[in-house]
Symmetry: C2
Subunit: 315 residues, 2 copies
């Protein structure tokens, strides 16, 4: 018998599908109290919110034999993942939020390009006055990171005719991008870039990558989007760049400190669109997460390789 | 010798290119006064704004021999076109604004789907509260009209995974749409449609097509976009539908009366985004218009068939 831990909500969605595996015993994780022993866990957003993921990780890490945790997060930078990996537990992660995040990026950037603020002001003033706008096809985008999220953005952008540069560690060419460069090439690309999207995890090398030197090279009307991690951006340098006219607008879903402190000047800055880490809150994410977990469960139980498995050193 | 009429601005952009045809004599149309005799006219937006198109049309219609007018408008429902066509003048029109209009439609609809108003209100309130949103891939679109504009919209939508129904007079199938229906099928499609885009010209049959019967069938959270012609929509019925919760939001670039009268309730309605007939005001339109005119000029002078030529009865 193999035991699976999951939330009550996940159980109610998946009970029918799970009955296909009689060798599997599902256990629901209660909101409080001890974690039942199990060798598999489905780490859904509700368990993260209820702070049940760390005790589940500790239970799994203390076990023996084959163990596996599937997380609905894209990044594995939360502390429980270090516990899991140190304990020899296999970890898989999700790319189910990538289409939602790509929709968020396109929706917010396009709203800027069609001059949503000027449209609103013109309507409020009752002004019948032509509002010219920059076509998407006249813009050049730099996607920093070209994993599931960067690629979903590029797929949506292509028919608009935008020019797409993908910046990755390797710089490997990819048919979804017009140009592929390494991270070291970014300074050369920034002066001709209209939209910069940070779609990469943070590590020791790219912390505060968007700092004074980076922002000294950006176009004055360019748009910066951060849906990666807050620590990629030096907030003070960003505000100085916006105030100094070295950047047109910032669309931020992640922050150096989350929740964003009430005292942060980002809340009220006219050059900032700030959202509470919800670029992945799209209507299709839950169903895509469940499908991915069930496919990985099938693979795990039949001994096939898992999708999106993290190496034992992290990503 | 063949004479070409064009605006001063168009002449300054095109003089170099026109010098390729020594048999062609360009004449600049002044802001006032008589129109020089010519057999070709390039009817650009500045000439429409300066109200010089009707006298040009009258000059051409009074002439004899081969005559041709190229207009930067997509529709041919302005009075000068009746004069031109009654006078036996060949008329070509433009699809250069189609990419701009498609960008406008995607930009404004996506800004609604990512909940731009809730994002703004949340930020103003300093609220760290998740804002869920509908993914584009979870929406069904009805494009009424599937000419250059409808097709440019469909091309941009496809990678998002939205379901696209194209409604045309013929209902001819098209690989860019998931379903193709006739105008008579629209009532059956409306109850499952999230985004309705009017991208067709107006004629005697479709005037006020969006009226009480149409709006009784729409989803309560659906979005209506009109970038066709104002007369397609019964404004009073639209406002009643918005007030009655039978429609979520309307994005309107064209109106029954333009400029939109100051007394119109559309200006201040919270369910309306109103723009001053500028969906075609994209940054790439001028260059695409000039390229299309020059290509048609080459064809005209060498006796080849023209692009986008209207039949003698209108479109």
């Amino acid at each position: 018998m193999t035991s699976l831990l999951l939330s009550g909500e996940a159980h109610s969605r998946l009970a029918g599908a799970l009955s296909a595996w009689p060798e599997l015993t599902p256990h629901i994780v209660a909101d409080a109290g001890d974690i039942p022993a199990a060798s598999i866990a489905y780490l859904t957003a509700d368990l993260f919110r209820a702070k049940r993921v760390m005790p589940i990780a500790e239970m799994l890490a203390a076990g023996s034999g084959p163990r596996w945790a599937h997380s609905v997060t894209a990044g594995l930078d939360h502390p429980p993942f270090q516990v899991l990996q140190a304990g020899g537990v296999r970890v898989t992660r999700s790319d189910a939020q990538a289409p939602a995040i790509a929709d968020y990026v396109l929706g917010h950037v396009l709203s800027r390009l069609v001059e949503i603020d000027r449209v609103r002001a013109g309507q409020q003033a009752g002004a019948w006055q032509r509002i010219p706008f920059r076509e998407v096809g006249d813009t050049r985008w730099l996607l920093v990171g070209f994993g599931a999220i960067g690629r979903q953005i590029a797929q949506r952008l292509r028919p608009f005719g935008a020019h797409i540069t993908a910046a990755t560690r390797s710089g490997t060419s990819d048919p979804l991008a017009d140009a592929c460069v390494t991270l070291a090439d970014i300074p050369a690309v920034l002066p001709v870039t209209d939209v910069i999207v940070l779609a990469c995890p943070v590590d020791d090398h790219n912390r505060h990558m968007v700092g004074p030197a980076f922002l000294a090279l950006t176009k004055s009307n360019s748009i910066l989007v951060n849906i990666g991690r807050g620590a990629l951006v030096d907030t003070d340098a960003l505000i100085a760049a916006l105030d100094g006219g070295r950047l047109g607008h910032a669309i931020l879903d992640v922050f150096e400190t989350e929740p964003l402190p009430q005292a942060s000047p980002l809340w009220a800055h006219p050059g900032v669109t700030a959202t509470p880490h919800c670029a992945g809150a799209g209507s299709g994410v839950l169903a895509r997460n469940d499908r991915l977990f069930l496919e990985n469960l099938r693979r795990y139980l039949s001994g096939e390789p898992l999708m999106n498995e993290a190496s034992s050193t992290g990503r």
